[in-house]
């Protein structure tokens, strides 16, 4: 997979967390997802269409989701409720939007966010589109951003 399709999401994640979550996440080495993938507790998903297709997914263990969202909204949250799912969806939206600007030559469209909550869930992505997982570590805990992206045939 081309690094220029992945790096915008890495940069956007660092920028979003540094600006709005009061922590500067450290990215680990990205790797191509191999099934069975990791399991998660809370995932925010944004679909990609237009010049590129696929999805970007930010996934947390529940403890990291709670500390991250507490910092994001500026108030403590103690359980994964509607406020947390809304906040995780908004984080995914901001990251995808910021990355989209770096992919502006592709005319990528982003969907409204969806959020999956469930202990040890997996998010399946289309088998014909490669997925790269970017692990991050920050003061709130570890999380991953999965970028499943391919250029559409017209590109």
């Amino acid at each position: 997979m081309r690094a220029e399709l992945i790096n915008p999401f890495l940069k956007a994640t660092v920028s979003t967390f540094s600006t709005m979550v009061n922590t500067s996440p450290t990215p680990g080495k990205p790797y191509v997802k191999v099934e069975p993938g990791l399991t998660h507790d809370v995932s925010g998903i944004i679909g990609l269409s237009g010049g590129a297709k696929g999805a970007v997914i930010i996934s947390f263990p529940s403890g990291t989701a709670l500390t991250t969202v507490s910092a994001f909204i500026g108030a403590p949250v103690t359980k994964v409720d509607a406020d947390v799912t809304d906040a995780v969806g908004e984080l995914a939206n901001i990251i995808a939007g910021a990355a989209k600007a770096d992919l502006s030559g592709l005319n990528v469209n982003i969907s409204l966010p969806s959020v999956v909550v469930g202990t040890n869930h997996k998010v399946n992505t289309p088998k014909d589109i490669p997925s790269v997982v970017i692990p991050f570590a920050c003061t709130h805990g570890d999380f991953v951003v999965e970028v499943c992206i391919a250029l559409t045939e017209s590109k």
Binding site: S15, T16, T19, M20, V69, F72, I73, G74, A75, A82, D83, D86, A87, G89, E90, N93, I94, A96, G97, A98, K100, A101, S104, I110, L112
Partner: protein, 120 residues
């Protein structure tokens, strides 16, 4: 100053409300989508609208155009607050009548600067 916050995300409305409160602006109402925003702007005397772009039912851009098309609300300042950060999108919003533009992610300082630019 009476402000209308428009965002389908309760989280973003909460963050912006807290930021505005910290800046001394406490007369703040909320709308959850563009249609809700247009109705509230027409009914109320808002001195500023902070408008998200991507929302269900009616987008922020569509709401902005509706606000500018109504003689009663044509002059209401509208700042777009959105993750749409491509130059072409910013130009589109400005051409539709956006007063200013804030790209997410943003810090409270950015919001403060945009309000100061409006003389608020």
């Amino acid at each position: 100053m009476k402000i209308l916050l428009v965002d389908d995300s309760n989280t973003m409305r909460r963050i912006q409300r807290n930021t505005l409160s910290g800046l001394g602006f406490t007369e703040v109402d909320e709308a959850e989508d563009g249609a809700d925003a247009v109705a509230k702007v027409q009914a109320g005397n808002y001195e500023l609208v902070l408008m998200d772009w991507n929302m269900p039912n009616m987008t922020g851009l569509e709401a902005l155009k509706a606000i500018r098309a109504n003689p009663k609300t044509v002059a209401v300042p509208v700042i777009m607050v959105t993750s749409e950060s491509e130059k072409s999108r910013i130009l589109e919003a400005v051409q539709a009548g956006a007063t200013n533009y804030i790209v997410k992610p943003f810090t409270p300082d950015v919001l403060r600067e945009k309000l100061a630019a409006l003389g608020k």
